[in-house]
């Protein structure tokens, strides 16, 4: 492995996480679409199971974009300009989906929810499809180097991009069915069967099985398409380490089906994710070392210093990110953030300190006010009158001190008591 490949590995990891986590979100929208007019139950469940993790799941796309444009800028420019149409469609899909999601919180009746859910569901299908065609176009080497050097339509409407787009949609649906079934089962167990999730679980199980079979069929069809449309990729996919990974993916896919059939949804989550990850890894191995037509990863990579800093930044960020993500998912999987998980929190705070606190605040306020005044004067002198850079730095700190002291001196809560 070379230095210039490490950021690409980060990108691929981000892509896997995006496809799995956000894919499950997209798929939830897909099932909403199919749920029809009587699918209120499925819709609500789909909405609830996304809830707290929704925002975090979608940041993976931002991660993929930013690391790509930092570490492989020329490739990013070529991809974004030639594939601007599907990318723009995906972007609009993301906007509509996000807006619909935010609005649903304010909707009060089923009548209000219906149009919102429709927008949500449609954009949940269009977005992964468009993003899938982007991947397909890159894989089929339809993106030449340069500013919009490729064919704006032809590049992503070939057989390979379209089949990858379709694969993205069914994979999302499959993942969503498995994840939602696991959530329903968890809720049922957590409430010791008090919440009747049985019919929901059965429905989701059937959906997962069907979607799993369809996803497998589309993947096989994809191989046939590659055979005629992108033969170089086909041959490299069925050779060496790429082949091993493809086989792993197929095995994980079968294992998931078996687990779903036996209603062991929790492990099925992980085997489904593994199947997806293996497909992406197989693609990467088959394509290596070429990034775009006529451009290897090495040629596309940014200079040494940038790569090192990106790697340091990502690893450092991961130290912060993964414990936080673990906390979030632990809370979610433990049902701590579910509906009905409320604890009687009111009154838990200690009101006893109230009077004392007021007295304390009153005597402190005068001192703070004087301090705030001093900070303001110092800030003016250092920032506005003085010329040196260090003085400006101190001046800004003094002004921030003015804001802080001033705020607590004014005691807005007392101001309101009048």
């Amino acid at each position: 492995m070379h230095l210039y490949e490490i950021p690409l590995i980060f990108v691929l990891i981000g892509l896997v996480l995006y496809v799995v986590l956000a894919g499950a979100d997209f798929g939830a929208g897909f099932w909403q679409l199919l749920a029809g007019p009587h699918g209120e139950r499925v819709r609500d469940h789909a909405h609830d199971s996304i809830g707290p993790v929704w925002e975090a799941n979608h940041v993976w796309l931002i991660f993929v974009l930013t690391v790509t444009w930092t570490a492989y800028p020329s490739a990013f420019g070529a991809i974004a300009s030639t594939l601007c149409i599907p990318l723009f469609i995906a972007a609009l899909g993301i906007v509509l989906r996000g807006a619909a999601y935010a609005l649903r919180a304010g909707a009060q009746s089923a009548r209000e929810r219906r149009p919102i859910d429709l927008v949500f569901a449609l954009s949940s299908v269009i977005t992964p499809f468009a993003l899938g065609t982007v991947i397909g176009a890159i894989a089929a080497r339809r993106v030449p180097v340069g500013n919009a050097a490729g064919n704006l339509w032809g590049s992503w409407t070939g057989a390979t991009p379209l089949i990858v787009g379709a694969l993205a949609v069914v994979t999302s649906a499959y993942l969503a069915a498995v994840f939602m079934a696991a959530d329903a089962q968890r809720i049922e167990r957590a409430t010791h069967g008090r919440e009747d999730e049985r019919s929901l679980i059965d429905g989701l199980r059937t959906r997962a099985l069907i979607a799993g079979l369809v996803a497998g069929a589309v993947a096989l069809a994809g191989l046939l398409v590659l055979h005629s449309d992108a033969h170089f990729l086909y041959t490299r996919l069925l050779r060496g380490s790429a082949l091993a990974v493809v086989i792993l993916s197929a095995l994980a896919g079968f294992a998931t089906l078996a687990l779903v059939a036996r209603e062991r949804f929790e492990p099925a989550r992980y085997s489904a994710a593994l199947a997806v990850a293996a497909v992406i890894a197989g693609w990467a191995l088959a394509q290596r070392p070429v990034l775009l037509k006529g451009l290897t990863v090495r040629q596309a990579a940014a200079p040494h210093d940038t790569l090192v800093l990106v790697i340091v930044a990502v690893l450092g960020g991961a130290l912060l990110l993964f414990p936080s993500l673990a906390l979030l998912f632990r809370l979610v999987l433990a049902g701590r953030l579910d509906h009905g998980g409320e604890r009687a929190a009111a009154g838990a705070a200690a009101p006893a300190g109230a009077q004392l606190g007021r007295l304390f605040e009153a005597s402190r306020a005068g001192m703070l006010a004087r301090l705030a005044g001093a900070c303001l004067l110092a800030g003016f002198g250092l920032l506005t009158v003085a010329e040196a850079g260090w003085a400006h730095g101190l001046g800004v700190l003094a002004l921030l001190g003015f804001l802080g002291c001033g705020f607590f001196a004014i005691v807005p809560s007392q101001l309101a008591d009048q």
Partner: protein
């Protein structure tokens, strides 16, 4: 540059401007609202007074809705880096990209903890819940730090050399953080966030007061954001002056455009209002030597004029100048409003009673939004025709794909719909009864009308 190219360059610029103008107001809430929510929750934890909890909970809903919209508009901006300006990203991604990569992690933290905070009300212990909000407030700061670092670099580029149209010798850390332009820009934007969010939020309750809704709940919910904005506005004038001196030293042509100064002048005058035409300010009020004094602290200093560069290297002067004057006049008025509140508070120890004060607060919200956008127009349009100052022209950065007008129209329509949706949900949240699942309210401490 061909004529067709010209046309779609203009479209690309407008699409960029539209996307920013939608994103940046939301960002202000991302910067300032978490801190205000946490302050209210902290008051609740200290006093046990349910009123503060109600305020914090209601603001949490606003925060969650605006955050979701902030995320999608930000995602559009990320796409546009490639969709509109692929050559900019392809050439300089290695220089500035690191900033966005780091920013990505701060978005992660924000998104994760917003999930925990929003869904954790009543479900986590009060203390744990409070602490789960702290990373959101921190991430709001670091998130804007990184984008501003990129923008400051575009205005005052460094940390690389150009050889045959390629950036070499790249030092991303120098480019992003060893940049004198960053600090005034960051401080100014950060304070703007508090001003905009503070006045808009307070404005909603000021309108309520004008309509007779004035219980302790409204007074408290007004006082917190209003205090913040009132303190921040006078400070903003000082910081803005600092920013202007920085522009004078690193972007003299931008300064000349801000002031409509056609020729290099010793002891340059400052013009207020008026219109730039035929290398002069028409109908403006001139104050002798003030510009030299403000920009260089010396009434006799020489200020570079627009004539130091050819015409096609000058920004559109009236746009920039008008935006700048708009920001400065609004900024001055906001500062006066802030001083009004502080004076009444110091002398009478209460909120002002004049209805005019509350009318002014209601207006201050939208006005500060205008100042915010005007400020960005000053910065960004003032930098034209360069995208990376004196290194790359915006026309060299733009995509070769054409047909931007289709995307522009689609985005404008979608944003219009989203704006309608956001307005709808905010009204819904505002009209929701004060307590739904909570126990009945404590009796208000003071009589409703004051």
């Amino acid at each position: 540059m061909t004529a067709a190219h010209q046309v779609y360059l203009l479209q690309a610029r407008q699409m960029q401007a539209l996307s920013f103008s939608v994103h940046i107001p939301l960002v202000c809430f991302g910067i300032a609202l978490p801190a205000m929510v946490l302050f209210a929750e902290w008051l609740y934890l200290r006093t046990g007074d349910e009123l503060y909890r109600t305020i914090a909970r209601r603001w949490t809903r606003i925060m969650a809705a605006l955050f979701a919209v902030g995320v999608i508009t930000g995602t559009i901006l990320s796409f546009e880096m490639g969709l509109l300006w692929p050559n900019f990203t392809a050439t300089f991604g290695g220089v500035f990209g690191l900033g966005f990569a780091i920013e990505g992690f701060s978005f992660f933290m924000e998104a994760i903890f917003i999930g925990i905070y929003v869904y954790g009300w009543d479900r986590l212990s009060p203390r744990a819940h409070f602490w789960s909000g702290v990373p959101i407030a921190i991430a709001g700061v670091t998130g804007s730090l990184m984008v501003i670092a990129v923008n400051a670099w575009m205005n005052h580029p460094g940390g690389f050399r150009m050889v045959h149209g390629k950036a070499v010798d790249i030092h991303p850390l120098t480019a992003l953080f060893a940049n004198s332009f960053l600090w005034p820009e960051l401080t100014h934007m950060y304070i703007a966030g508090y001003i905009v969010a503070g006045f808009l939020l307070a404005g909603a309750y000021a309108i309520g007061r004008l309509r007779g809704k004035w219980s302790r709940y409204e007074r408290t919910a007004l006082a917190i954001p209003l205090t913040i904005a009132a303190l921040a506005s006078p400070v903003q004038v000082l910081v803005g002056d600092w920013a202007a001196r920085d522009v004078a030293s690193s972007q003299p042509i931008k300064l000349a455009a801000l002031e409509g100064l056609a020729h290099t002048t010793k002891g340059a005058p400052e013009h207020i209002l008026g219109w730039y035409e035929h290398e002069k300010i028409k109908y403006g009020i001139g104050i002798p030597k003030l510009l030299s004094f403000l920009a260089y602290h010396n009434p006799e200093a020489t200020v570079a004029g627009l004539d130091t560069v050819p015409k096609d290297r000058q920004p559109p002067i009236n746009v920039v100048r008008f935006a700048f004057q708009m920001m400065v006049s609004i900024g001055t008025l906001l500062a006066l409003l802030g001083v009004w509140l502080l004076a009444v508070r110091i002398r009478r120890k209460r909120l002002p009673e004049s209805a005019w004060f509350y009318r002014a607060v209601a207006l201050a919200g939208p006005a500060s939004l205008v100042a915010l956008i005007a400020g960005w127009v000053t910065t960004e349009v003032g930098r034209q025709p360069w995208v990376v100052y004196h290194v790359m022209l915006t026309s060299q950065a733009v995509t070769g794909a054409g047909h931007i007008v289709v995307g522009y129209t689609a985005l404008a329509l979608v944003y219009l719909a989203v704006a309608g949706g956001v307005a709808w949900i905010l009204l819904r949240l505002a009209r929701a009864p004060l307590r739904e699942r909570d126990p009945p309210p404590l009796p208000p401490a003071a009589s409703p009308a004051s």
